[in-house]
Symmetry: C2
Subunit: 333 residues, 2 copies
Amino acid sequence: MFLNKGFVLASRPEGAPRPENFRLVTSEVAEPAGGEVIVRHHYLSLDPYMRGRMNAAKSYAEPQKLDAIMIGGTVGEVVASQNPAFAVGDMVVGMGGWQLYARSTGQGLRKITRPHIPVQAFLGLLGMPGITAWYGINAILAPKPGEVVTVSAATGAVGSVAGQLAKMAGARVIGIAGGEAKCRFAVEVLGYDLCIDHRAPDFEARLAAALPDGVDCVFENVGGKPLALCLERLRDFSRIAICGLVASGYDGATPTPLRDLKIILDRRARIEGFVITDHRALWPQAIDELADYFEDGRLGWTETVEEGLEAAPEAFIGMLQGKNFGKQLVKLI
Amino acid sequence: MFLNKGFVLASRPEGAPRPENFRLVTSEVAEPAGGEVIVRHHYLSLDPYMRGRMNAAKSYAEPQKLDAIMIGGTVGEVVASQNPAFAVGDMVVGMGGWQLYARSTGQGLRKITRPHIPVQAFLGLLGMPGITAWYGINAILAPKPGEVVTVSAATGAVGSVAGQLAKMAGARVIGIAGGEAKCRFAVEVLGYDLCIDHRAPDFEARLAAALPDGVDCVFENVGGKPLALCLERLRDFSRIAICGLVASGYDGATPTPLRDLKIILDRRARIEGFVITDHRALWPQAIDELADYFEDGRLGWTETVEEGLEAAPEAFIGMLQGKNFGKQLVKLI
């Protein structure tokens, strides 16, 4: 019926993934059975968490299986349906993976209810990254007006939303990003008060200067040295939300240690790790709020789009190196 | 009017405190001025936090001043009053310090309202240690029935209450204490399911065996190796409440590092430091609940009492070495 193409995990990377860790496969998509739908993907989302799944070890989730289609968020159109809940033509968000078509029982598929918003937003601002930012800022950090918030990967899919939400809460928001171009973008477009290039030779001194009285809230999705520096500058009653540690383990890279837990006691701090799929009950509320902010013009997004499924491995590898600006997408149609 | 005796901090210790770090001083207690009261102390509380205050560096509180009376919780009787809120004969709890008498404006003095409970309980079960346990268990850890809770210094003033409260919540409670005698006491008297001697050569293996499926809640007031081991065994959605780190810094001892913050993300864990004096608004509720549990017979305490002010330095040094059983007190009258 349809000719499907997709990428499977061919081998587990050691350190940074390489193109040969992925293998392109083709197959025919049969007609949907009773209860099933076939979705033709318009966009595939590429996200740092995928790197963690490529390891054999369990982290917060099961590892990606070898020779199976790579996990990934997708947005697409129902092109065949034997499920009364979905009609041909419905636009849906799901975890369809790195492939052109997906077969689904409908479980985990969400229909897009705001037709005026570009569909790819449901993979970014209104998808896992945006909801992750929303949860970290609102449910864990809850910055108060005037508090100081740091956001790592400040222009990334998650960080760019977290930074904007923290500004909306009235906080002073310091971004951390790789490269001067991203830092300019963070300040000029996203509204950060300041953004510091972690590749700059004087990064440590600049971060210290940006936090003369320390930091109240740390929104962390990278880890490594910048996180370690923020943890040395915690203020009393500070909060640290960790939703990703790209620099610490996904890649088999150096861990991010905490030198002494005593700082947690001395500062009466709270460190909390979270994974947004644990909080699905809150997704509808988060999506509604974020969509309202977007339609009000209070919240924007930025994206890097590669064309065609075949571009996915290189785009993914580049994203892990920080080459993308905002949400990394692959356009499949 | 009265002859007062007290201990001042003579010098700051390096490592473990020694008797010469304290100096006995005497003075006359003048009549109270307008608004003042004079309290004759019945009991002085000795607590691990005092060691931290003896350092010059600020932790969560200002350091103890040299040549000033050592800080300390006290319970005593009003023996002279020019303050309409207090009558001669009232029993009061306060921070009177290591001395026989204290002069006070009344600020920070709390009248004892349960005359049937022995007064020293207001320095232990119904004082800072008990309230610390109550807050850590109820406000931070909130153990659910069947969850696994570890409590360090399991028979100490704080830990003994934390362990009992965790049992009341229906958790499986594993104590950690120094020495087989304390461990027996923890199980036989306090009701721990198990207690492990951290001085035993096979401590690490025994702790691992006691936590085959990991730990949900860590009530920590010691730090060091046992904490590090618990942190390696966290379960999903685990909580760690840190209210003291005797083994990590009070004594200038080795820090308690966290090897990799990634465990916080992988386990979606929450680590929180707290100091009970930040939460004074909750003290009346805590004291009421704890007193009810005591009067119901659901909660007991144990204490080690030394006689006479002059015994305070040695008792304090011994407590830091773990020589006490339960709440360490000095009886002053």
